[in-house]
C-alpha cells in the first residue's frame, strides 16, 4: 500500500528551499518530496523551522531561495481550494459562533450549504447547534473548531501547525484519531507537533527537523504493520 502511494506523483516537492529572516536562516536548503495519502508528522525543537516550512508551503510566506510545487502547481493560488491550513493561532473570529465562522469560511471556498459546516463540526466532536461565541469556547474547543475550519472544504492536502497545543490528552487523542480517519480517505496530512507519542498510532512517517533542515525521515513501522493486518483499510487509502 505504501509503495502504491509513493509511486503516485508527489503532493509536495521542495527544491533547495531557503528562508532568511534578516541574516538568520530559518530554512537551510531543504529538498524533499512527499507522497500522497500519507500522514506526516514533522518534529523538531523550537526554532527548527517546522512552522516556517509549513507557512511557506501554505503560501503565507515566500521562500528567500529555491522553489517548490504543491499538488503539481507552481502557483499556490491555483490549488488553494485543494489545501487546508490550520495555524498555530485558531484563525477564527471570537465574536461569531462556531457555525457562523464555518459558514463564512465555507463561503470563501464557494460552499453555501450549511450542512457541510455542520458535518465538519460533528466530525471534530462539536455540537453544530452551539450558539455560544467562539470567544467563550475553551482552548480545546477552539482547536477542534479550527480543525473543522481547515477540513471544511474537503482538501486533498492538510497542513496543520500544532493542532494539539493547549489541548487535554483525551481531546488530543480524539483529534489524532480524526486525522487518521481523514488520511484513510486518501488525504495527505502534515502535522507539526511536539507531541509525537500522540501520533504514534496513526502517523505514516516522522520527519525530523533540526536547524532549518530535514535531518531524518522515519517510516512508522507500527502503522505499516496495522495496514498489512487489515487489507480493507489499505484499500480505503489507495482510493
Amino acid at each position: 500500500m505504501i509503495a502504491t502511494a509513493q509511486s503516485s506523483p508527489p503532493v509536495i516537492v521542495l527544491d533547495n528551499l531557503v528562508k532568511f529572516f534578516g541574516r538568520f536562516a530559518a530554512i537551510r536548503g531543504i529538498s524533499a518530496s512527499f507522497a500522497p495519502a500519507r500522514l506526516y508528522v514533522v518534529l523538531g525543537d523550537n526554532g527548527a523551522g517546522k512552522s516556517t516550512l509549513l507557512r511557506i508551503v501554505a503560501g503565507l510566506m515566500e521562500p528567500s531561495q529555491g522553489s517548490f510545487t504543491l499538488l503539481g502547481a507552481k502557483r499556490i493560488r491555483d490549488v488553494a481550494h485543494r489545501v487546508g491550513y490550520m495555524g498555530h493561532a485558531p484563525l477564527l473570529y471570537d465574536e461569531l459562533s462556531g457555525m457562523e465562522n464555518l459558514r463564512y469560511f465555507a463561503g470563501l471556498y464557494g460552499i453555501h450549504d450549511d450542512e457541510v459546516g455542520r458535518n465538519a463540526m460533528r466530525m471534530v466532536g462539536l455540537d453544530p447547534e452551539l450558539s455560544r461565541r467562539v470567544g467563550q469556547y475553551s482552548q480545546g474547543m477552539r482547536q477542534r473548531l479550527s480543525l473543522a475550519r481547515a477540513v471544511l472544504h474537503d482538501p486533498e492536502l492538510m497542513l496543520l501547525d500544532e493542532p494539539f497545543s493547549n489541548v487535554d490528552v483525551r481531546s488530543a487523542r480524539e483529534m489524532a484519531a480524526v486525522l487518521g480517519r481523514v488520511r484513510d480517505q486518501g488525504k495527505t496530512i502534515f502535522v507539526v507537533t511536539h507531541q509525537a507519542p500522540l501520533m504514534e498510532g496513526v502517523a505514516d512517517e516522522f520527519v525530523h527537523m533540526t536547524a532549518g533542515q530535514i535531518v531524518k525521515r522515519e517510516e512508522c513501522l507500527r502503522h505499516a504493520a496495522v495496514e498489512e493486518a487489515d487489507p480493507s483499510r489499505a484499500g480505503a487509502r489507495s482510493g
Binding site: A80, V83, Y85, G87, E95, L108, Y109
Partner: protein, 224 residues
C-alpha cells in the same frame, strides 16, 4: 467564488460583528460629538459665521472619527491571525478590500446622518445652496476618506505603532480630497460660489484612488 459574493459575505460578517461589539460606531460617535460640542462652545458663532467655518469643522470631525473606525477594520482580522485563513483561501483579495471599504463607508455615513442634525442645532446651519449637493459631496468625500483609509490601514497592520502610522500616511494623501470636501461644502452652505469644480475633483479623486487601491491591494495583503 465571485468577487461580489465574497464581498457581500465579508461585509455581512463585518456588520454582524460590529452590531455585536459596536466598537467602531461608539468610538466614532463619541469623538465626533466631542468635536461638535467643544468647537460650538469655543467659537459660539453666529449663523452667518457658521456657514463659513462649518465646512472645515464638519470634515475635520468626520476625518478624525473615521480614523478610529479605520484602525478597527483590520484589528479584527489580526486577532487570532484570521487574516491567514483568508490568505490561504482561493477567495479574491480585492473582495476583502471592497468589503472593508464598503463597511467603513457605511459606518461613516451612519455617523454623518447622526451628526448632521447636531451640526444644524449647535451651529444654526441653514444652507443657502441646494441641499442635495451637500449629499453628493458627503458621499464622494466619505468614499475618498474610506477607500484610502482602508488601504493604508491594511498597509500599516504589520507595523508596530499602526494607530499612529495610519494618520501619518492617510492625511497627506487626502489633502486634495479634503480641500475639495471643505471648499465644496462651504460653497454650498454660503452660496458664494459654484461647488461644481470641487465635486468633479472629488469624483476624479475617488475613481483614481479606488483603481490604485484595487491594483495594489493583493501585494499589500501578501506582504510579509
Amino acid at each position: 467564488m465571485s468577487t461580489a459574493g465574497v464581498t457581500r459575505a465579508t461585509l455581512m460578517k463585518d456588520l454582524r460583528m460590529e452590531w455585536r461589539s459596536k466598537d467602531a460606531i461608539n468610538s466614532m460617535l463619541f469623538f465626533a460629538l466631542l468635536v461638535v460640542v467643544i468647537f460650538s462652545f469655543a467659537f459660539n458663532p453666529t449663523a452667518e459665521e457658521s456657514r463659513h467655518i462649518a465646512g472645515g469643522l464638519i470634515w475635520v470631525s468626520f476625518l478624525f472619527a473615521a480614523v478610529v473606525a479605520l484602525n478597527q477594520t483590520w484589528a479584527r482580522e489580526l486577532r487570532n491571525q484570521v487574516l491567514d485563513a483568508y490568505r490561504v483561501s482561493p477567495a479574491p483579495p480585492n473582495a476583502l478590500f471592497l468589503a472593508k471599504a464598503f463597511g467603513n463607508f457605511l459606518f461613516v455615513v451612519i455617523l454623518e446622518c447622526l451628526m448632521a442634525p447636531l451640526f444644524v442645532i449647535f451651529y444654526e446651519l441653514r444652507s443657502v445652496g441646494p441641499v442635495w449637493q451637500l449629499v453628493v459631496v458627503a458621499l464622494l468625500g466619505t468614499w475618498a476618506l474610506v477607500v484610502n483609509g482602508t488601504f493604508f490601514a491594511a498597509l500599516s497592520i504589520r507595523t508596530r505603532s499602526r494607530e499612529i502610522m495610519l494618520p501619518l500616511i492617510l492625511f497627506p494623501i487626502s489633502i486634495p480630497a479634503l480641500l475639495g470636501m471643505v471648499d465644496a461644502t462651504t460653497s454650498i452652505l454660503t452660496g458664494d460660489a459654484s461647488p461644481n469644480f470641487w465635486i468633479k475633483l472629488l469624483a476624479v479623486y475617488d475613481i483614481v484612488f479606488t483603481m490604485i487601491c484595487l491594483l495594489l491591494f493583493e501585494a499589500v495583503l501578501n506582504a510579509e
